[in-house]
């Protein structure tokens, strides 16, 4: 209800946008009627709600195709980008975080935390342009822009995704490394770590099996939130690398006042958030068998 009302209260008329520059007020009125926007708000809301109840998110004002189909077209690039980003972030940040905690206060820790601050601070588009300049334009290794679907082959798919995923993963590496460091640091102060070391266990085993395993819950939570944020929040990266994903679709739909698409996307993102949070909660059982629901 909130999103529906908010969209209608936002200045901007989809009919005027669609009509083009030379349209007259009369033509705009006719388009508005054609879109059903001349009906009272409660009636419009009732129509939309009725369709949603039947699994129909409506039709895009512009593209005249079902919102579900539109989301379907944009889902693959976003999912691919989010997955590779999280994969890169996890394989880099967790070892870094553990190492930083292990060498707490040492040069390694300071360097990693310094990198972490840098990762948070550098705007995504700056990093993106730097990477493009170096890797694509100077070295010529990877494409500047675009997305190749998996159906076009794994290699083109990966080639187009490496730079965007690298760009995006920096901030997540910084975030997850910091959380990992803090959690492992806390675990390393626990009695069971002292006991493990007293038993003569190898330091690697102590760090991985005892410290990291017990620090896993906050790390899993951050990763989960990261996935949810990535699904709808990678607009800048998608713009710079020309990836036709859900982030761009959302921004385009909002700018064009494509109400059905925006409503459908918000509903979709809400479901993703709820789903991811549910999975995170369920994962706690794996990380800590004491937890029961």
């Amino acid at each position: 209800v909130f999103v529906f009302l908010l969209l209608r209260l936002t200045p901007g008329d989809p009919a005027a946008i669609m009509a083009g520059d030379a349209a007259t007020s009369e033509q705009i009125e006719r388009i508005r009627a054609g879109l059903g926007l001349d009906k009272p708000l409660p009636v419009q809301f009732g129509i939309w709600l009725g369709k949603v109840a039947q699994g129909d998110l409506g039709e895009s004002f512009y593209y005249r195709i079902k919102v579900v189909a539109l989301i379907g077209q944009r889902l693959e690039p976003t999912l691919a980008l989010a997955s590779l980003t999280i994969f890169l972030a996890v394989i880099v940040s967790i070892p870094l975080g553990v190492l930083a905690a292990w060498r707490f206060g040492g040069w390694l820790d300071r360097c990693l935390m310094g990198f972490s601050v840098l990762g948070f601070s550098v705007p995504v588009f700056v990093l993106a342009y730097l990477l493009i300049w170096l890797v694509s334009l100077k070295l010529g290794w990877l494409p500047v822009q675009g997305y190749a679907r998996l159906s076009e082959g794994f290699v083109p798919w990966l080639r187009h995704l490496i730079l965007p995923a690298l760009t995006l993963s920096v901030i997540y590496i910084a975030l997850i490394a910091r959380v990992t460091r803090a959690s492992v640091l806390e675990a390393l102060g626990e009695d069971y770590i002292r006991t493990a070391r007293a038993k003569g266990l190898a330091e690697t085993r102590v760090l991985v099996r005892h410290a990291l395993a017990n620090a896993a819950i906050p790390i899993a939570t951050v990763i989960g939130i990261g996935i949810a944020l990535l699904i709808g929040g990678v607009v800048v990266t998608e713009s710079v690398y020309a990836i036709p994903g859900l982030g761009r679709l959302t921004v385009d739909a909002v700018l064009a006042r494509d109400f059905p698409t925006v409503q459908g996307l918000i509903l979709f993102f809400s479901v993703v958030y709820v789903g991811v949070n549910l999975l995170i909660d369920l994962s706690y059982i794996v990380f800590d068998p004491r937890i029961r629901y």
Partner: protein
């Protein structure tokens, strides 16, 4: 690990192979509506030129030339026009183009397009005595028949199959079947991502050389791909420099310096007439419901500051004292003295004598449309210097588009001035120039009311003699400056940037992709 390294080495050593006969274009905007009759959006028009053919075209000298039409005759009283189509014209589904298709297409177009509507006021009926012939019967002679049928910009009278053209004019068509040089790949269309057109191998181009939207539409590439996702200006430049795309339809002005430094890139001014900037007043509300205040504003809005701020590149802009595109038949300086031969002091005097009471002027400023976003700032500054109180309101372009359609007072969500740009053909005649419509609330945003101009526009439509038309067009301009319909703010070109292995650009108005060779 060894496998991973092997995979990475493979990625580095084997770059993606280019497909030689695919023309990869970055259009100036997104393609979101596929009906070029239903909307006036330029992207829909460009899509139309790919897919559909036209009865007439306009060449690079702005002369109307036959395209689908083979020959035509006019009765002595100029009330009966008989057109014969070229033999062999066929739609993409294989069906021949007939007079019935033409009539249905013109009927639908005549309900949407301003010039089409004007033409239809003269039309008594249309018929098709034979499959390849159609006739237009007029109530009285008119002088805009060919000009209307050959108009190169929105809405272009594209010819569609009757079954498609029978779609009510206020509904969008659902199929893109034309008889033009390219076939639209509906199955490959991904909104916001990619639009694909393949060569229509059965298309029979005219024998004349291509010129503007006229002449032979020869296709030398197998496929044209519009990259709709690549909209970041710097990424566009990077992609062209690296050869991942072949053409940038309208690069940002700030990009030209960078583009010129890349040896493989050429800058091509394929549309020398370019665009005209315009400041439009709302005639319904104070202070611009007073013609003297509008004149003061026009006097203050000198063209050079707008062009310098917005375009910046000296070789790409020029002041133009005419309300019609400079370099076209109706261009004239008559009546423009209020703007072209004045200065800020005179503007201040005009404002003082106008009785302006200090009512704030609401200027709509789009923050997300690079092509015009600096114009409102210049307007605000110049109007302030002239003595106006200005309220510059920033918003996204689509809010501007919505807001300018509102007739409410400025304090209740309305407006006083917005600024925009028009393609040359949209403003080169009294009938195509929407800002010269003065039918009050039925006219284009701003809603000026002036019987004299409306009468002159009717006379213009009736005139069949070129000299007479020119004289009427001048009278319209003189009157338009007198009542201050709008302020022309100069002209500019926005050359395309292309890889040097892409050649054959057709000089003229519009973004058309025939005659292009990719070596």
């Amino acid at each position: 690990m060894r496998r991973l390294l092997g995979c990475l080495a493979f990625l580095v050593v084997f770059p993606v192979s280019a497909q030689d006969k695919v023309l990869r274009v970055v259009p100036h905007s997104n393609l979101n509506i596929l009906d070029p009759i239903w909307t006036t959006q330029f992207m829909a028009r460009n899509h139309g030129y790919m897919v559909y053919d036209t009865l007439f075209g306009t060449d690079d000298k702005n002369r109307v030339q036959p395209q689908m039409v083979d020959k035509w005759t006019v009765s002595p009283d100029q009330r009966l026009w008989t057109f014969t189509l070229r033999p062999g014209l066929a739609f993409h589904d294989g069906k021949p183009v007939t007079g019935e298709d033409v009539i249905a297409s013109l009927t639908r177009w005549g309900k949407r397009d301003a010039m089409g509507q004007k033409l239809m006021t003269f039309v008594e009926r249309m018929d098709s005595p034979q499959a390849g012939t159609f006739r237009i019967f007029l109530r009285e002679a008119c002088g805009i028949m060919l000009e209307a049928l050959g108009k190169p910009s929105s809405n272009v009278p594209f010819i569609m199959p009757k079954s498609v053209a029978d779609t009510p004019a206020d509904q969008q068509i659902t199929q893109s079947i034309g008889s033009g040089p390219y076939i639209f790949k509906q199955d490959e269309f991904k909104p916001g991502d990619r639009a694909v057109y393949v060569k229509n191998t059965k298309y029979q181009p005219r024998k004349e050389p291509p010129s503007g939207t006229a002449g032979g539409k020869h296709v030398y590439v197998d496929r044209v791909e519009w990259n709709l996702a690549l909209r970041d200006a710097q990424s566009q430049v990077n992609a062209l420099a690296k050869g991942e795309v072949d053409v940038l339809e309208r690069p940002a002005f700030e990009s030209y310096e960078q583009l010129k430094k890349v040896p493989e890139i050429a800058i091509v001014t394929k549309d020398p007439l370019g665009f005209q900037y315009m400041g439009r007043f709302n005639h319904l509300h104070p202070p611009f419901n007073n013609p003297k205040v509008r004149q003061a504003a026009i006097a203050a809005m000198q063209q050079e500051p707008f062009l310098r701020a917005q375009v910046g590149v000296k070789e790409y802009y020029k002041p133009c004292a005419s309300m019609y595109t400079c370099g076209t038949p109706y261009a004239s300086t008559k009546g423009s003295e209020v703007q072209s031969k004045t200065n800020m002091k005179k503007a201040q005097e005009l404002l003082k004598s106008s009785g302006y009471d200090g009512t704030p002027v609401v200027i709509l400023k789009p923050t997300d449309l690079a092509a015009i976003q600096k114009l409102p700032d210049v307007a605000a500054q110049l109007l302030r210097q002239a003595g106006f109180k200005v309220d510059l309101q920033a918003m996204d372009w689509n809010t501007v588009v919505s807001r300018r359609a509102k007739k409410d007072p400025p304090a209740q969500g309305g407006w006083n001035i917005f600024l925009t740009a028009w393609l040359a053909p949209d403003v080169w005649s009294p009938l195509t120039n929407a800002a010269l419509g003065t039918a009050g609330e039925k006219s284009w945003f701003g809603w000026p009311a002036d019987d004299q101009i409306e009468k002159l526009r009717d006379e213009f439509a009736r005139a069949t003699d070129d000299a007479k038309k020119k004289a009427i067009a001048e009278q319209i301009q003189v009157r338009a400056f007198e009542i201050g319909t709008h302020a022309p703010l100069g002209e500019y070109v926005n050359p395309l940037a292309t890889r040097k292995n892409v050649t054959g650009w057709v000089i003229g108005t519009g973004d058309v992709y025939w005659n292009i060779k990719k070596n």
